[in-house]
């Protein structure tokens, strides 16, 4: 039962975290969704804020924002998961994004839905999962404002496949995963495929409270415009973040987390660097006696 309790904490974490900057929205990321073994369904609502602090240029040099320009992304999301059978779960996530950008006295505010995700998780073996997901481009990929604050998505469907493993040795538990995402064309534009490698370690601090550190490394191939490869458009990014999860009730879990890039030369390429802080509240539904 203690192992199941740890898996429940992993479930809360996995279902809540999915940060991506709207300006350079990642087509990959955390948050495929996860149910504890006794849960029939879950629903998560989250909010977060992520100011940009700079960017890695196309030579992988870190360039901090030094002009006084600001770029703040606020994000709320709804996510839900349901078990078809205990080993097969479906999940969906829909974000809503508000972005405020300022530069030299000009303010540009935009809002709209971000790209949604529908995923399926299958556990053929205990603590081993295979995942498939489709990204649905609900977000706006081309801005209308001068600073492009209303860009909330990439504009392309994506297809992702991933696998993850978990191992529990209470009070510790670890996760690792690898996934690939293939975008479909958006008109003449085709983003490159990407590879994600994730690793996480967590520790149950007290009954129902866990601290988790998760890292993700993403490699993305070059973009193609009108059939021509765009030079220097490949990207990479390393993101790290601690998260604190508190199961305050058998059905309710609250989480707070930080997600940040590592702002050093070479640890990103062609990506904005953001520091994201978010919190989420998750409800896990199960029938009395199933836990």
């Amino acid at each position: 039962m203690t192992a199941l309790r740890a898996i429940a904490l992993i479930a809360a974490l996995a279902g809540a975290r999915a940060w991506a900057g709207a300006c350079c929205v990642s087509s990959t990321g955390f948050g495929f969704g996860r149910l504890a073994p006794w849960e029939a369904a879950s629903a998560t609502v989250g909010v977060g804020a992520a100011p940009a602090v700079g960017a890695w240029d196309d030579a992988a040099a870190w360039v901090p924002d030094a002009t006084g320009a600001t770029d703040l992304e606020l994000r709320a999301w709804l996510a839900t998961s349901a078990a078809i059978v205990p080993a097969l779960q479906v999940s969906a996530r829909v974000p809503w994004i508000v972005t405020r950008k300022t530069a030299e006295g000009l303010e540009d505010v935009g809002t709209g839905p971000g790209d949604a995700r529908v995923s399926v998780r299958w556990e053929p073996l205990s603590q081993v999962a295979v995942l498939a997901a489709v990204g649905v481009p609900l977000g706006r990929s081309r801005g209308r404002g001068l600073l492009g604050a209303d860009v909330t998505g990439r504009g392309a469907f994506t297809v992702s496949f991933a696998t993850s493993v978990e191992q529990v040795r209470l009070p510790w538990y670890v996760q690792a995963g690898v996934g690939a995402t293939v975008p479909l064309p958006d008109g003449n534009r085709l983003y490159g495929p990407s590879l994600d490698v994730t690793a996480g370690v967590g520790r149950e601090l007290t009954d129902g409270v866990a601290l988790h550190l998760l890292g993700r490394f993403t490699l993305e191939g070059a973009r193609t415009d009108a059939g021509r490869v765009v030079p220097s458009s490949d990207a990479r990014e390393l993101v790290l973040g601690p998260a604190l999860s508190w199961k305050l009730h058998p059905r309710w879990t609250i989480e707070a987390a930080i997600e940040t890039g590592v702002f050093l030369p070479g640890l990103g390429d062609n990506r904005q660097g953001r520091v994201g802080l978010f919190t989420a509240l998750r409800y896990g539904h199960f029938h009395e006696g199933d836990q």
Partner: protein, 127 residues
């Protein structure tokens, strides 16, 4: 760990590299010659592009249809196309041109008059 993460994200934002100077590369080989340059240092907003259009004899071309676009190729971003107005003597002004993000941008200028066409691309690094 949270303190460490903050130290990483706060303490290291002061490092980085200075933007590279702008470079100019001719794009097209049409019968119109297009010259273009910004009227001051590149900034995020409020940039004005000074454009001159001449024919293959070097004579100024008035009445050309001039369009300006800007693309951040590495991210796939496009800037809002600025308005272009003729200022006389084959000269045109395009602005304000705002760049949604700092980084390397390509600014394309295209001029068309009847069957004649010319283009120029300017690469800039936006601070």
């Amino acid at each position: 760990m949270r303190r460490l993460a903050w130290a990483v994200c706060v303490g290291l934002t002061a490092c980085g590299t200075a933007p590279a100077p702008a470079t100019h590369q001719p794009l097209g080989s049409g019968t119109l010659t297009v010259a273009a340059d910004f009227d001051g240092p590149i900034t995020r907003v409020g940039n004005t592009l000074r454009i001159t259009v001449s024919d293959d004899q070097g004579a100024p071309v008035a009445g050309a249809a001039v369009a300006v676009s800007a693309t951040m190729a590495s991210h796939g971003h496009d800037a809002q196309p600025p308005g272009v107005r003729a200022v006389g003597g084959g000269a045109y002004a395009a602005g304000p041109l705002a760049f949604p993000m700092a980084g390397r941008w390509a600014v394309q200028v295209r001029a068309v008059r009847e069957a004649d066409e010319g283009a120029r691309s300017i690469e800039v690094v936006v601070p």
